[in-house]
């Protein structure tokens, strides 16, 4: 992506060179199957187990509570479907939110077709879920609460500690899709009473195609991937050894620098927000001003459409994302923006900027400068906009 300014770190991140370096030996040198008996497979086994230990430590879990998956989507599917079916003798009710990632939402929709009942909690206008709303939704049939740690579009961080406490008091399993939060904010699954937590390595400068589900000891979601005896018989398939090694290396680095990165990105993000709000009229910041991921800014520019905005930014070498319908090929704009009560036309004009390690203040200034011109040009073309 030479010559591109990348502002889409919530979509994915570049793998760090030092992470790649750690992964490399496991492709062609120490490539043995970790489940084999001969001596060279022990190197691979050791790498997997050492990585598991590192990852566990980063989220306050025990080593044997980490199960590797192909990514966040599989972890979400497994946690939700697995828990629903493992507990269907206790009840058939699941509580989630309207603005989950599709990996959670579509899994819940499918479970509804299979006879489960799902309550979708609505976030408030700032994108925060209220624990009291979850409490009201609990019935004696509720078997699972699944609430995202941080929203992928508007970055809002949910009251996970309170939700965990509530779930524990009520004796209900609590899963959180923490794909956007892991590595970005401090997480301790024990203190937060989290029973299951999904993560994905490519969101924090690790490789794609590898993730994990943390499953608290004693919690047993039904086996999702059938096959060999890997992951203590709970997730079959030969381990993605280089991926696992890269996952651990990237997460270790993120966890060692969580505070420092959050401070740096948060300041840059606040600068971006201030610049955009001050220099461009008719713009709205979506999501809570402070209860959000340090790297996330999500704006709605009135009177214009997000895809046209993204195309224009792309022509200037800037990569960003939008909740506009036109970027997804569907007719409806982002379900996240609609869930916080944005009218369709405002949701269509959204722009998500997610910062990362490689961004600079110079790039932010460039973005704002280009945005001013692009937004003005598109507004002048818009029948909704009337200059006064």
């Amino acid at each position: 992506m030479k010559g591109q300014i990348y502002f889409d770190h919530a979509a994915t991140t570049a793998v760090k060179p030092e992470v790649i370096a750690k992964m490399l030996p496991y492709f062609a040198v120490d490539y043995a199957n970790p489940s084999s008996v001969y001596s060279i497979s022990r190197t691979a086994r050791h790498a997997v187990e050492e990585s598991r230990e590192t990852i566990a430590q980063c989220i306050g879990a025990d080593k044997d509570e980490i199960y590797f998956t192909s990514g966040g989507t599989e972890a979400d599917n497994w946690a939700i479907r697995g828990s629903a079916y493992a507990n269907k003798n206790k009840g058939n009710h699941i509580i989630t939110t309207e603005f989950e990632h599709h990996a959670v939402l579509h899994t819940c929709k499918q479970l509804e077709k299979e006879g489960f009942e799902v309550t979708y909690i609505k976030p408030d206008s700032e994108g925060i879920i209220h624990t009291s709303d979850i409490e009201k939704a609990i019935t004696d049939k509720t078997i699972l609460i699944t609430i995202m740690f941080a929203n992928n579009e508007i970055g809002t961080i949910q009251p996970i500690y309170e939700i965990g406490k509530l779930a524990k008091e009520k004796g209900i399993l609590f899963h959180t899709d923490a794909v956007q939060a892991v590595g970005a904010v401090p997480i301790n699954v024990k203190e937060m009473n989290i029973d299951m937590l999904s993560m994905s390595a490519h969101k924090f400068y690790g490789p794609k195609g590898i993730g994990a589900l943390y499953v608290r000891k004693g919690v047993r979601p039904q086996v999702f991937m059938q096959g060999g005896a890997q992951e203590k018989n709970r997730r079959a398939g030969t381990e993605n050894v280089p991926g696992i090694v890269g996952f651990a290396a990237a997460l270790f680095d993120a966890c060692m620098h969580t505070e420092e990165n959050a401070l740096k990105l948060g300041q840059m993000r606040d600068y971006l927000i201030t610049e955009v709000m001050n220099k461009i009229p008719y713009v709205k910041l979506n999501g809570h001003i402070s209860k959000r991921l340090p790297n996330n800014a999500n704006f709605s520019f009135e009177f214009i459409e997000g895809e046209a905005l993204l195309l224009s930014l792309d022509l200037e070498g800037i990569a960003a994302s939008s909740g506009s319908a036109c970027t997804s090929g569907s007719l409806d704009p982002s379900h996240v923006l609609l869930s916080i009560g944005l009218p369709h036309e405002i949701a269509h004009g959204s722009l998500r900027i997610t910062l990362g390690d490689d961004n600079t203040y110079y790039q932010i200034d460039y973005l704002v400068e280009k945005l001013i011109t692009i937004v003005d040009r598109l507004r002048k073309m818009s029948p909704l906009y009337h200059e006064n």
């Binding site: 214009i304 046209a308 195309l311 090929g329 369709h344 269509h348 073309m381």
Partner: protein, 144 residues
Amino acid sequence: MEYTKEVMEHFVNPHNVGELENANAVGEVGNAKCGDIMRMSMYIEDGIIKDIRFKTFGCGAAIATSSVATDLVKGKTLEEALMVTNKQVIDMLGGLPDVKIHCSVLAEEAIHAAISNYCETTGIELPGLKKHCDGCCECCKGEE
């Protein structure tokens, strides 16, 4: 999804953007809910579209199809303009992604809406006028 260079050219440098001050035919189709609104204003004299401008709220394809549609009808008689189809708009753009076909339909409808407005105010009757967008996005999906 990728746009052709023709779409990008019309998106970057659209033709006939704006609002005609002396317009005697104005049509607006689409709605903000679906993310596309096209407004066309024409100056019609002696049954000929002498001048035309458009304003569009929408994606890159919506802007490009508006631009091409205005080119296609400018200088044409009303009868000729009504023969312009969304297929022609698509061809001029070297193709459109499937999910963007509706933008070309909307452009065709915007022309009909403006001419229809002219017919209403002048009392002229023209065959071949289509009814314009009723806000049902699904209706135009896949129409080619």
